[in-house]
Symmetry: C2
Subunit: 202 residues, 2 copies
Amino acid sequence: MTVDGTRITRAERQAQTRERLVEVARDLFLTEGYAATPLDKVAVAAGFSKGAVYSNFAGKEELCLAVLDSMHAEQIEGIVEAFSARTDLDSRIEAFVEWARRSVGSPRYTALEVEFAAAARHSPFVARELVKRHREMRSMAAGLIAQIAEEEGIELALTPEQAATSLLSLGIGMGAMRSLDSSIDVSIFAAAIRSLVRPRDS
Amino acid sequence: MTVDGTRITRAERQAQTRERLVEVARDLFLTEGYAATPLDKVAVAAGFSKGAVYSNFAGKEELCLAVLDSMHAEQIEGIVEAFSARTDLDSRIEAFVEWARRSVGSPRYTALEVEFAAAARHSPFVARELVKRHREMRSMAAGLIAQIAEEEGIELALTPEQAATSLLSLGIGMGAMRSLDSSIDVSIFAAAIRSLVRPRDS
DNA sequence: ACATTTCGGATACTATCGGTATCTGAGTGC
DNA sequence: GCACTCAGATACCGATAGTATCCGAAATGT
């Protein structure tokens, strides 16, 4: 063992490599697209060769799953924050729409997810993984909606699960459309949300 | 010129070839996916070789656009019929949801469209073509919604354009999700539609 | 401290697939 | 019936995901 502390264990090295690969892959997948980005390019941009990718991930698909996970974490954080910062329904929706404006379609999170889902549809493993993530997202959203409805004392026209599924679908669909046609205005999201979470008319 | 009438002009032959290619491509793209289906396979399954594809289409992308067009025609027909057959709002929505149950996600129209949109995002030409089709779809839907609102004498909480965009997004998003996770119930569509086209309160 | 083992990452190779260049033969017009 | 055209066939190229193999440095045992 050498004198200074710069010495690093193999596991740590590999963890760094993995992290760096995910980081670079995320950047390239988001800007160029999943299918359009060759594995080599990711590896080289991260300062490695393809071998590094294959000794850290089972293949391109698993690399992309890791990328999606890193994005999910941020998304959930953003959503929870948007909803919990404010207190009244309108400003909550406004904060959420503001988050959506930044996150749905512009940095193409959704486009990547959707492209990947479509491209990897044939792989049962990937399909299962994606479904798992969607269900987590959905129950998280449903919980949030239920909680807010409770706090605001309103009775929703849709069950929290239905509302969550609708919002998620809406987000995915709008993200997909906006990545092609940026003229679509996210503020429609606000209107749709208001409709979906509007209290039942008595 | 031979005696019987089975003789066919070159243009007619080519039209037949083109049609057959689209037909077979549609079938394969829907069942196997766009990226997962090699051009050769389409050509051979149709009884030709790759050369036939390239002398009828500029490439795989244009073949897929032709496939999408053939699907759009059917979709529009189905939607218009669902809405125009019945007269009162509820049974119209019901008919539409019934159409959606058959068409959104099961035969993977949406999955194909979404996969193609994602895969071909980098091509400005394809992007323009898809945007054109979406705008047509959207204004068709908006027109239908406006007409129905008029007939039913209700004032919508969203403008017809907004409602159309929302519904289209919802359809795309749900189609994409359902193609992965068939446990998602389309009946949520009914609830979401009712919310979105619900008359303004007060 | 030296030999041995392990394994993260590199290199070389294969298979697949979209696209291009070239060819061929049946159908067309003179 | 002869030269020509063009739909479709064939042969090839380049890109890229994945595999098989190799190398060298870090870990381990004595």
